[in-house]
């Protein structure tokens, strides 16, 4: 299967583990990822907060470039996905002319998790499973804007998405139900208002523990960064010691399919998942 791929800016750096595991898993599943030609930043929260015009023009350029190839495009970052979808609606909406771009809307914009949990891909995953994740106790954390608002994302299960849970079950893990699947981690406030992150993320830690989880599974690199990097700081502030590794769903597919590079991906985490995975006999 060939598909266009919009990696987004952070996958080359702060989310290198996500990038590496995506590429590895795609290769295992015979998915050929082809980068959107000459892509640019989607503008993220900064653009939609203070410059509406850039917030549409930046992602719109990416869609136009992607359409030249004529292939659907998959997006691993929740916010990039959302901004591309906003641009798609604008480009196909009644005010499209103001953008001055030619876009037919022949391609579909996919969230990576949705793409990899389509039936045929799931069937392949089950077939290639080498190391079932032996009852790894998890909660799936989907983040905000891949689901919301449904008018933009075209999702039906925006309050309670389940595809990551289904995937994790197929991989042999044990994803617990919890009410914070799509709650906010604070995203970009990690730099400008870290105190906000501390409050939001501590709540997520406590609720995940309450649900019985030993780790988080995520599909957004901003969620991963906010749950992983400040865990020690948030624990100190709260007078607690948290140990909740934050794993990408692609890393866990890689682990369950026996990919040799998993340890390299895990070495990039702040909360080292290796002790947990060893205890579970998975490494």
């Amino acid at each position: 299967m060939k598909v266009s791929y919009y990696p987004g800016c952070s996958l080359e750096h702060s989310a290198k583990d996500y990038e590496e595991s995506i590429e590895a898993v795609a290769a295992l599943l015979d998915v050929q990822l082809e980068e959107v030609p000459d892509w640019n930043c989607c503008g993220a929260t900064a653009a939609h907060s203070i410059n509406e015009q850039l917030a549409l023009a930046l992602p719109a350029r990416n869609l136009v470039n992607a359409e030249v190839k004529g292939q659907d495009v998959v997006v691993p970052c929740a916010l990039c996905f959302n901004r591309l979808k906003v641009a798609e609606h604008a480009l196909l909406g009644p005010d499209a002319a103001t953008l001055g771009l030619d876009y037919q809307g022949k391609i579909k914009v996919w969230d990576l998790l949705d793409y990899l949990t389509q039936e045929p891909v799931m069937a392949q995953i089950k077939e290639k499973l080498k190391k079932p994740l032996g009852g790894l106790q998890t909660v799936c954390y989907y983040g905000c804007v891949v689901a919301r608002p449904p008018k933009i994302t075209n999702r039906r299960d925006y309050e309670n998405p389940t595809n990551m849970d289904r995937l994790l079950k197929d991989l042999g893990a044990n994803p617990y139900p919890w009410s914070y699947k799509t709650d906010c981690c604070g995203a970009g406030f990690t730099i400008s208002r870290p105190d906000i992150i501390d409050t939001l993320v501590q709540k997520l830690y406590d609720r995940a523990l309450e649900a019985g989880a030993e780790c988080f599974v995520v599909s957004c690199q901003m969620c991963q960064a906010n749950l992983d990097i400040p865990q020690e700081r948030i624990g100190k502030k709260a007078g607690k010691k948290y140990y909740l590794p934050v794993l990408y769903f692609t890393e866990l597919i890689g682990l369950a399919l026996g990919h040799p590079d998993v340890k390299t991906w895990f070495s990039r985490h702040f909360v080292d998942p290796v002790p947990l995975l060893q205890r579970k006999g998975l490494l």
């Binding site: 939609h48 449904p150 906010c184 400008s192």
Partner: protein, 195 residues
């Protein structure tokens, strides 16, 4: 009953008309059920609740909403917009209000948040279309004055330590991102969006 209410408190619908015109959002559709505020995860740092911002916007209390903390500490998680029974894009209103407050040259209540947004867009422009995360931290420290403050209070040490850790783990790089090849397109986008 002309004259019965003071001019300051009299409803002024020009502002809500403008929001409708600029963003196709009808704040006057709000009947104050407060579902937006009930689901909002950020209310603990807000001065007005989301449904209050919508009501004040509908009544034309521009100064109050543009000067509020709320519009800047909204994380754009879209829970309010998703759940509004009257289909009001509340997060979209927050964006409109932020942009308006910047463009009208007002003093913004949350300087660090604005400094971050500005640093981000400046970074994308300077880096040729893609974000350079390492540069973003530097630009933010300069723009917000946080760098100087942290230098004085010794807080910078923690940041440097974190940066080094990220570098060791391969999550922060000194290598700039690849520039977009058709650089003029990016330049034009930024140029057009200035006005």
């Amino acid at each position: 009953m002309e004259g019965a209410i003071s001019k300051e408190l009299a409803p002024n619908f020009e502002f809500s008309d403008e929001i409708r015109k600029e963003r196709q959002i009808a704040v006057t559709d709000c009947y104050q059920c407060a579902k937006c505020s009930a689901g909002c995860p950020l209310t603990f740092v807000m001065d007005f609740l989301p449904h209050e911002i919508i009501r004040l916007s509908g009544l034309g209390q521009e100064e109050m909403v543009l000067g509020s903390k709320t519009i800047w500490v909204c994380s754009a998680c879209e829970t309010c917009t998703t759940r509004c029974p009257n289909d009001i894009d509340i997060a979209g209103v927050m964006d409109f209000l932020k942009e308006r407050s910047v463009r009208s040259g007002r003093l913004v209540s949350q300087k660090s948040v604005l400094a971050f947004h500005k640093a981000f867009l400046e970074d994308v422009r300077l880096s040729g279309g893609r974000l350079n995360e390492s540069l973003l931290l530097g630009l933010y420290m300069l723009r917000s004055g946080e760098g100087l403050r942290k230098f004085k209070t010794g807080g910078l040490k923690e940041d440097v330590k974190l940066g080094l850790q990220m570098f060791k783990k391969g999550r922060l790089s000194v290598k700039p991102p690849q520039k977009v090849q058709v650089l003029d397109e990016i330049k034009n986008l930024f140029e057009k969006a200035k006005s």
